[in-house]
């Protein structure tokens, strides 16, 4: 009831305020008349009675105001009045308003854009039911890093563990669809039957995989993504149809829902059962470390509990599950939440970015606070007048906060536009393998974030100036005019500039370190000559090429055809390509003998099966012996070339030529070392190269690689050769897909993509910070010079030369900068810890970076100081003093 009254009466005061005012006026009027009538009745003259009532009542207007001001609606009313007033203030100073709004828009926009990028990746739950219960499980390698699991480990955990509702393993799969006009290769996954149940997503059409589909002798079945289904024609009756994949007829049994996001293999659009042998034959693929395992925790089981259980199982082998030595699970198993697992690579960079953008936001706020303080100094007369007319201090603070909130709101609106553009830029710049990149968008959460940031900023930037303005004695402020004395606000403004300089230094140092890291990275010799090099993967698929010798002949003929394409200077095939990003193809290498006495200890090496001319095409230098050539055919003696690093570690100070080694199985054939070549970066420029063994494709006995890489050295532009080379291969066999075409320069750039991404953003933030800081320094000095005009005039009159005055102002500005730099240096030592993982080849205390950055900052700061200093030096004492 009373709430209702509060509301209706208040709303009436707002909507029909004329009538409401009339009511109050009437009541006061009636009160006055009654009081007067009573006095007249007591014998006073009407004149005397009116005077007496006037004295008792005081000013009737004030009484009316008092009553009017008591309801809640008055707060609303004054808020709107303040808003109107604030709007008028801004309209009267469009330059000031535009500057502030622009600075805030950039700050809010940048942080909102970063938030919208980081939020879905790091913080929003993955798009699965109870996503927090989905875990990734890994084995450990000798260094304690995560290692893919064997199928044997999966089988044992599936049988023995009780912590999981579902467990599934998976590996990549790239089937080729034939029978259509052009062969097409898909990205897909081979998964154990429970894969989709583990994620908690079911096919919308057809059925999920069943255990019966997942046996070595089961018929091939596939489930399609909705997107692939649509690309294939969107046939509603597709379930039950067959498609020819890798030459085998596979039955489509289901289609996944649209929007099914498969974070474990974002590219995958087709799935088939793993079909491994649950009987675990020894020395078969079931015991290779090549599977990823995902599990869904039972409700109520925590991650630590699950880890403890798996570790217990790992420590207590049972006879039923015999483990080979390379999968003995001696270090237990690694259990990560899926979210942490897929974001682990990008988390440090993203967190560092959040830190950087917050710093930019702080600088923007500091700058706006500074501008507001400067304006406050100009408006001191106005505030004094309002106080003199009866405004309370809180009322003044409220009005100023309204002004800054209005500025923040306008900045926020513009900031959302900036954020939208920023998100587009981020998406364009971001490395492709960033997980959750598709989820990046400006949505409700982002709006809420921007709104919160805007409000906080409005209060933060407004509070100091508001308190400053409302402080102080109106009397002196009115008397003194506003221009002559430099008040306490100068002190605050100087402190703020110091803060700005310090933050800018932190950002500049971070950007500088990243830049230097990237320089170091690109200065690294990958071990081959990457320019004018075109690479692509050629696939041999279909029944016709199932036979090893046919396949080998196809590749040989393709190579001959490619070598005849105009513009090609050399070409070769290799089973794995450096910097391609493909998983490394490592084998155990055992030497027959070694001067180190440990011929077969811990030697995993990358295995390359290459065609003749590979080293020449890649320009990998030959250090000793000979390279592999046409004479190394299937029937010739088996030979191998090893990398310099392998030669160094196994034959230090000796010639390895003529020694023999085995690759892979312990009973495999011996290969004789005929040459040593330079080291090559296989995985990435940043990682140290792994040991390498090269054999001729024709002499690799285990199998013939189905999808080798073709490398082509061009005389001129490598990319331009693409169509000619594709046609040359298709002239041999038109059914073979050619994928992943890229120049080596592209691959080099991609291998540094994440660092590059971080660098671009940090550089942008650092430059913004530098510009804002320069504006801040300039603003403070300009304000200080304007306020000290008279003092400077006096100095000039007393004989100070122009250079004296110039030095005076410059000294003031540079002292602030120097203090800021000192604080910023200390902050940088701490802050660069956050980007330590992104650095490469330099210490985070890299002297060159620090010196360079400080020089840059001092240069910009002195430029910003120069203009006000020069203006001060132009002061004509006669004019300034006469103006008094």
């Amino acid at each position: 009831m009373s709430l209702w009254r509060q509301l209706t009466r208040g709303l009436r005061g707002l909507t029909k305020h004329a009538a409401a005012d009339q009511d109050v006026a009437d009541e006061v009027q009636h009160y006055t008349e009654q009081a007067t009538a009573e006095l007249i009745a007591r014998g006073l003259s009407p004149e005397a009675a009116r005077r007496a009532v006037q004295l008792e009542l005081g000013n009737a207007t004030i009484v009316r105001e008092q009553v009017r001001a008591s309801g809640w609606e008055n707060l609303v009313r004054t808020f709107f009045a303040d808003l109107r007033y604030a709007g008028r203030q801004l309209r009267n100073n469009p330059g000031f308003a535009a500057t502030v709004i622009l600075i805030l828009a950039l700050g809010i926009g940048a942080s909102t854009a970063i938030f919208s990028a980081v939020n879905p990746i790091l913080f929003e739950p993955l798009p699965y039911p109870h996503a927090g219960r989905i875990m990734m499980i890994w084995d450990f390698d000798d260094n304690g890093s995560r290692l893919p699991l064997t199928f044997g480990t999966y089988r044992e955990m599936l049988e023995r563990s009780r912590s999981f509702d579902e467990l599934a393993v998976m590996k990549p799969w790239q089937p080729t669809l034939t029978g259509a006009v052009h062969p097409e290769r898909f990205e897909g996954q081979r998964v154990s039957a429970a894969y989709f149940r583990t994620l908690g997503i079911q096919p919308v059409m057809g059925r999920d995989f069943q255990p019966a589909d997942d046996r070595p002798d089961s018929l091939p079945v596939v489930i399609l993504s909705r997107e692939l289904w649509q690309r294939l024609g969107g046939d509603n009756l597709i379930v039950g149809r067959q498609m020819k994949l890798d030459g085998k007829l596979s039955t489509v049994i289901g289609v996944m829902p649209s929007g099914f996001e498969n974070v474990l293999a974002p590219e995958a659009e087709i799935w088939t059962p793993l079909q491994y042998d649950a009987a675990l034959p020894p020395d078969a693929r079931e015991w290779g470390h090549h599977l990823s395992m995902v599990g869904r925790l039972r409700a109520g089981v925590g991650i630590l509990q699950a880890k403890r259980e798996l570790d217990t199982i790992a420590r207590t082998p049972v006879a039923e599950f015999r483990r080979p030595s390379h999968a003995a699970l001696e270090s237990g198993l690694m259990v990560n939440s899926l979210q942490a697992d897929v974001t682990s690579a990008v988390r440090p960079a993203l967190l560092a970015l959040i830190g950087a953008v917050i710093l930019v936001l702080i600088i923007a706020c500091v700058n706006v606070t500074n501008l507001l303080l400067a304006r406050g100094a100009h408006r001191r007369g106005e505030f004094a007048m309002r106080v003199a007319l009866g405004a309370e201090r809180t009322r003044l603070v409220r009005q100023l906060l309204t002004e800054s909130l209005l500025l923040a709101a306008l900045g926020g609106c513009l900031g959302m536009a900036v954020a939208k553009i920023g998100v587009q830029l981020l998406l364009a710049l971001s490395p492709a393998q960033l997980p959750g990149v598709n989820a990046i968008a400006v949505n409700g959460a982002v709006f809420a974030f921007a709104f919160a940031v805007t409000t906080v900023i409005g209060l933060a930037v407004g509070l100091i100036p508001a308190l400053h303005a409302s402080r102080g004695d109106p009397h002196t402020a009115l008397q003194q005019g506003s221009q002559r004395t430099a008040g306490g606000h100068q002190q605050t403004r100087r402190a703020l500039v110091v803060v700005e300089v310090a933050i800018a230094l932190v950002l500049l140092v971070s950007a500088g370190l990243l830049l230097r890291s990237l320089q170091h990275l690109f200065a690294i010799d990958p071990g081959f000559n990457g320019s004018h090099l075109l690479t692509m993967q050629v696939q041999a698929s279909g029944d016709r090429l199932d036979d090893d010798s046919t396949r080998l002949r196809f590749f040989q003929q393709s190579l001959d055809a490619v070598r005849h394409v105009p513009g090609v200077s050399a070409a070769a095939f290799t089973s794995q390509l450096p910097l391609s990003g493909a998983p490394e193809d490592g084998y155990g290498v055992r030497f027959e003998s070694s001067p180190t006495g440990r011929p077969d200890a811990d030697n995993g090496a990358d295995r390359y099966a290459v065609s003749p001319g590979y080293f020449e095409t890649m320009s990998i230098p030959l250090h000793r012996g000979r390279s592999l050539d046409e004479h190394d055919t299937a029937n010739a003696p088996l030979v191998a070339v090893i990398s310099e690093s392998l030669a160094q570690s196994k034959f230090p100070g000796h010639d390895p030529i003529g020694h023999r080694l085995r690759i892979g199985p312990a009973d495999g054939p011996w290969y004789t070392i005929v040459g040593v070549v330079g080291n090559v970066k296989q995985a990435s420029l940043a990682l140290s190269q792994s040991d390498a063994v090269y054999v001729a494709s024709a002499q690799w006995r285990l199998f013939v690689d189905k999808a080798p890489w073709l490398v082509v050295r061009a005389h001129g532009d490598a990319a331009a050769l693409t169509p000619g080379i594709k046609n040359a291969i298709w002239s041999v066999d038109k059914d073979q897909p050619i994928v992943r075409v890229a120049t080596m320069d592209d691959l080099l750039a991609a291998s540094a993509a994440e660092r590059h991404f971080a660098l671009v953003l940090f550089a942008a933030f650092a430059l913004a910070a530098l510009a804002l800081t320069a504006i801040g320094i300039y603003g403070v000095l300009a304000g200080s010079v304007a306020e000290r005009m008279r003092e400077i005039g006096v100095r000039a009159a007393l004989g100070a030369t122009r250079s004296n005055i110039l030095a005076l102002v410059l000294r003031q500005g540079m002292a602030l900068t120097a203090l800021g730099v000192a604080i910023g240096l200390i902050a940088s030592f701490a802050a660069t810890q956050a980007i330590a993982t992104l650095l490469f080849g330099i210490s985070r205390l890299d002297l060159v970076t620090y010196v360079g950055v400080i020089a840059l900052l001092l240069g910009v700061a002195s430029t910003a100081c120069w203009v006000p200093a020069w203006r001060a030096a132009q002061v004509d004492p006669a004019i300034t003093l006469r103006a008094e």
Partner: protein, 119 residues
Amino acid sequence: MTVPGPSTDENTDVIQGTLDMLILKTLSLEPMHGFGIARRVEQVSRGVFKVNPGSLLTALQRLERAGWLDAEWQQTENSRRAKYYSLTRAGKKQLEIESADWKRRASAIARLLNVNAEG
């Protein structure tokens, strides 16, 4: 001397927080307009309490919104509008609460003062 004038030592502003109670008490006798309430408080307190019109009218608005008073506009003889206030049932209850509370405090203070006088 009942002619109102500037505050003297004898008449003081109503004690902070008791104005509401005094208004409710006055209106519990009969509906009244603002000036009537002010005069009644002054008369009954024998001029000890002087009601400030601004505070009074503000308080009336507040009490009306709280649902303790009803307000009604009436036409006066000289065809002016006068606002008459009356106590609602909720107002009566509130008056009971406030006067009970006041009595408790007043007697407590009286006891304390007596102790002081004796000690």
